[in-house]
Amino acid sequence: MSARDRDWDGVRLHVVTGKGGTGKTTLSAALALALAAEGGRVLLVEVEGRQGIAQLFDCPPLPYEERRVAVAPGGGDVHALAVDAEAALLEYLEMFYGMRRAGQALTRFGVVDFATTIAPGMRDVLLTGKATEAVRRRVRRDRARRPGGDGREAFVYDAVVLDAPPTGRVARFLNVNAEVAGLAKVGPIRNHADRVMEVMRSPETVVHFVAMLEEMPAQECLDGIAEIRRVGLNVGGVLVNMVRPPLLDPAALADAARGEVDVAALARGLKSAGLEHADRMAGDLGRELVEHARRVRAEGEVRERLATAGRPRYELPYLSDGVDLAGLYRLAEELRAQGAA
């Protein structure tokens, strides 16, 4: 292990949530890369049936099967799995009732769809069940790589990253026990849910929140943190995404936010750069500066509100060329540099 200061050593399940469209899938992938760096083995799990991971890593749609999708910086593997509730239910029916064939017949007239529709908790148990199973899974004795710290076989994955549903649904999604309480008091589902909860509540699991420096994503982040705490789960860090660097020093920013720009100085600069119509241009560029400064000020206010959550914060840059593979690695490097992995 390196001597770097890492905030989440010991955490093996990283759940990533946040307002829709803030970058949950992108940052889940970047976090998986960062955690796998220098020889790790990490599983990245998606649950919403959108094939977001395949798109990000530019590979064909993922089947219901763990596949290697990327090599991490300095060696290390990221595997990925798109969990599908229907497939997970069939697996489950087979496991507990030995009903594989019957299960397949039932999918034909929509029993599976029906069951997961009238009991959304059922769907969630199946999805989280798959992710937590991967967290607990150990290398089989006959092909053990290296023993784990507790003398038992090593875990197959050093960490699992779960690209979770958005903030509004996440507490319900993770707190499966409460969800299935009304469904089943005893029996296999109950046991299944209990084992999921054991992992969810353990100190090895944290829920990270993706936010942006905008009011609604930030508000959702703070509300979400409060809710996750209320249901007794561990809050991880706040990943502030799409941050743009301010282009002015703080004093000039403060002036500009008040509408004060030294237009004469600006014009002198433009002239010296050989630009025409420097005086008129200075006025207009000055207004662009003022708008920029006001946005930066508003962002600063949001940043302060996010700080009130009292959780570690990481800031990820806005990638102006969009998120491609190179961009993902860059975000992963940022996460490592800031100690998130």
Binding site: R108, V111, A115, I118, Q219, R268, A273, L285, E288, R295
Partner: protein, 404 residues
Amino acid sequence: MSTPEPAAGRDRAARSPRLDTDALLTDRRTRIIVCCGSGGVGKTTTAAALALRAAELGRDAVVITVDPARRLAQSLGLTELDNTPRLVPLPEPAAPGTADGARPEGGGTLHAMMLDMKRTFDEIVEAHADPARAEQILANPFYQSLSSSFSGTQEYMAMEKLGQLRRSDEWDLIIVDTPPSRSALDFLDAPQRLGRFLDGRLIRFLSAPAKTGGRAFRLLGAGFGVVTGVVSKVVGAQLLKDVQTFVTAFDAVFGGFQERATQTYRLLQAPGTAFLVVAAPESDAIREASYFVERLAEERMPLAGLVLNRTHHSLVPRLSAARGLAAAEALEESGDHPLAASALRLHADRVRVESRELRLRAYFTSTHPAIPVAEVPAQPEDVHDLTGLREIGRALADTGRSAG
């Protein structure tokens, strides 16, 4: 990179017809405006801004908002989810017309409400069932989860509320915001999904006497017992029983739920209804908007136009990104004019953003050349009060008026 010069992009974009929102709002035949679009693009903001502007142009407008940002809700006087339209005191100086000297028609009012989907559902039940049966339905655990969490309930209830307000005839213009969802199409599909589910084959079989159900399943090659057996194993016998009781009680009250969904739906095709598709200038949102526009045409639902929200423009269009950047670098090298260097860098950024947005807009207008477009520039700060909403309304009106 082959970035078209912004000026060229702007010419191309300008070819689509301009969406004249003021004309839409002042046309007394316009009775319903539905604001749709993918998540986070500005549906709620647009709906509220249009309602305010309509009121200031003399209409008696009501806006149904769904999950508004907290501060925006507060500024509309909506402190709780109470499902009743509240009168919003209009700020002074009113009148969007005063800026260019025109007199407002005056006399308009603005009401606003926040949709409470559960309560809306409860009210339908209470209105249609006798008290004893209503109580039975409301207490059913399956009903409770259906009415508060089924995906599609919110969309369905927004439609219900729209229908109720329209029938009450108290407002001459109703503006509806649509629920946050990833895809704009959900607004059209979700209510049907709920209806289909409640009318679904399986739910009928499960709640029908074993005989009919049994026969149907045998035809499919499995015994009825097997099916109910699996379902109750998976979801629990109690829940299955709740579902059966619910469907029986609900059916007796409503007949076909899907039929009801379809009827509520016709409202959207009625003359006097106008759809506005809201999109942000981002590729996902524009793609969604395209799908939605095509779908509306298929459903014969009248589209008024596209609102492109949160666009960016540079204030010095003549200075290209490349020249701005080169000048910034030259200044940075000399170290003499830090302010100008920053301003030029900032400008280069803005021009790049602007040309990307113009390309996206051009993509939309070239595939949908006949769709009118209005544009709302990104405000430097969030929109959370009436002044901010009025700005948005004015920006919308301005694109309708200006010649490009």
